[in-house]
């Protein structure tokens, strides 16, 4: 790990010696990483390297997978998220997630955004403001403000993905995890999501898994390279893409393998 990252005073997510097994197979090996607040961290690596598995440890999505066993420590704001007293639903409210394929609920645009706040007990009179705010923050308000009652599934793929981001923002998380959020989108929609992610880091800490190297280079402050379950290199994005320290990182980002 580079000094620059170690010296960051306020790291929001701290991962220490994290191991993960799917049954007998070890998918993550002794991962340690410190993710600074209000930054974008990109995770890259070939398919099957463990980057998606890793990101899913940060809001315990792997709990849903049978035979999955986790050892080591993941702390958010100093609190161990694998501790016994942790309410996983509450954890996922603080650590939101956006997936590869847009997955709006089969309901109206408005209700998609209002769904989370409603189940967390937000009163009806506050909902309009929250929905509008979330759609603004996700840079989609102008496109949907006149048809909030239309089905969310009538939107284009790129709009659906921004709607899903708005849905995540509506419950006011501190951290947002993106698992290949642009891989099903066209270049224009991809640019919009990238712009959005760069703007969101003012208020959120963002971790993104991407197969698009240029995307990682464009939008992230820190980059981690995974290979066969190990974190090979983690550092400032400029340094990783300009002069990586490890040969396998260099080989991967220059397209020698992977």
């Amino acid at each position: 790990m580079t000094e620059a990252v170690q010296n960051v005073t306020q790291s929001q997510i701290e991962v220490e010696n994290l191991d993960l097994w799917y049954g007998e197979k070890q998918a993550l090996k002794n991962i340690s990483m410190q993710i600074p607040k209000n930054s974008v961290t990109a995770l890259i690596g070939p398919s099957g390297c463990g980057k998606s598995t890793f990101i899913r440890c940060l809001n315990r999505m792997n709990d849903l997978i049978k035979n999955c066993r986790v050892e080591g420590k993941v702390s958010i704001e100093g609190k161990d998220i694998y501790g016994k007293e942790v309410d996983v639903v509450d954890l996922r409210k603080h650590v939101g997630m956006v997936f590869q394929k847009p997955n709006p609920f089969p309901m109206s645009i408005y209700d998609n955004i209002a769904y989370g706040p409603r189940i967390h007990g937000v009163s009806k009179k506050d909902l309009d403001g929250i929905v509008e705010g979330a759609l603004h923050s996700a840079a989609i308000w102008n496109e949907v403000s006149d048809r909030l009652k239309s089905p969310a599934l009538s939107l284009s793929g790129g709009q659906q993905q921004r709607l899903c981001i708005a849905r995540t923002l509506a419950v006011k998380p501190e951290i947002i995890l993106f698992d290949e959020p642009c891989s099903a989108l066209d270049p224009i929609s991809t640019s919009k999501i990238e712009e959005l992610i760069m703007n969101l880091k003012k208020d959120y800490t963002i971790v993104i898994v991407t197969h698009n190297m240029q995307q990682a280079a464009r939008i992230s402050d820190y980059t981690g390279f995974f290979l066969m379950g190990e974190l090979i290199e983690f550092g400032q994005t400029r340094q990783i893409f300009h002069s990586p320290l490890e040969k396998s990182t260099e080989d991967y980002i220059t397209g020698r393998f992977g």
């Binding site: 190297m213 300009h242 002069s243 260099e250 220059t254 397209g255 020698r256």
Partner: protein, 216 residues
């Protein structure tokens, strides 16, 4: 190995830069010989090479645009592409300055105002710097690059000594001002060529170590 075509393009880029390098070495060497011997025929032959150098430089630029736009090189590949662009510009300037040198024999009809012994030595050191900076690029050797650039000091020393000598000669005998001025230009051109060699050496250090250094 994936991206074979891409790797071939990178190799080709490196070779094109080295070809422009060889061309600049040839033009520099012949222009110096032409000016020392006041050999107008050799000078004209040298002048005729400039369009070829232009073509080489243009080819390098086109392949760099293609590589950047289509392949989006990263890490050491990106440093190679950026260095190649800078090298091409430095080499093209070396060609340009050598062409200026090759124009001098046509303007001095009957012998120099002084024997060009120091100037020849200055040109020899510069030619060594150019050869070694190119070899350092070819073999990715930052130490060779630093050693080559270090010789710029010798060039500068001779430059100032000859400069002072020529000024003093002109002060004593104004009838030589015109011919001596061409020699002032000559040593200035050589000194500038040595500076461009230093730039090349800096690019080689950057290419191989990712560090930005000032070598002159």
């Amino acid at each position: 190995m994936v991206r074979e075509r891409y790797l071939q393009q990178l190799d080709l880029l490196k070779e094109s830069v080295l070809s422009l390098g060889e061309m600049s070495e040839l033009i520099f060497r012949d222009s110096i010989e032409a000016v020392i011997d006041l050999n107008v025929e050799l000078a004209n032959k040298t002048l005729a090479l400039e369009p070829k150098a232009d073509k080489l430089e243009e080819g390098i630029e086109v392949s760099i645009f293609d590589l950047l736009a289509l392949q989006q090189p990263m890490a050491s590949d990106l440093r190679l592409v950026v260095s190649a662009l800078k090298l091409a510009a430095d080499l093209r300037r070396i060609v340009g300055l050598s062409i200026n040198i090759a124009k001098i024999p046509g303007k001095i009809a009957d012998g120099h105002v002084k024997p060009l012994v120091d100037t020849k030595r200055m040109a020899d050191v510069t030619a060594d710097m150019l050869a070694n900076s190119l070899r350092a690029f070819e073999t990715r050797d930052p130490e060779l690059a630093k050693a080559a650039a270090a010789r710029d000091e010798e060039v500068d020393k001779i430059f100032y000594a000859v400069w002072v000598e020529l000024i003093e000669m002109m002060a004593k005998d104004t009838s030589i001002v015109s011919k001596a001025t061409y020699l002032l230009f000559l040593i200035r051109y050589i000194e500038r060529i040595a500076d461009h060699c230093c730039n090349i050496c800096e690019s080689v250090v950057y290419l191989t170590t990712a560090e930005r250094v000032k070598l002159n």
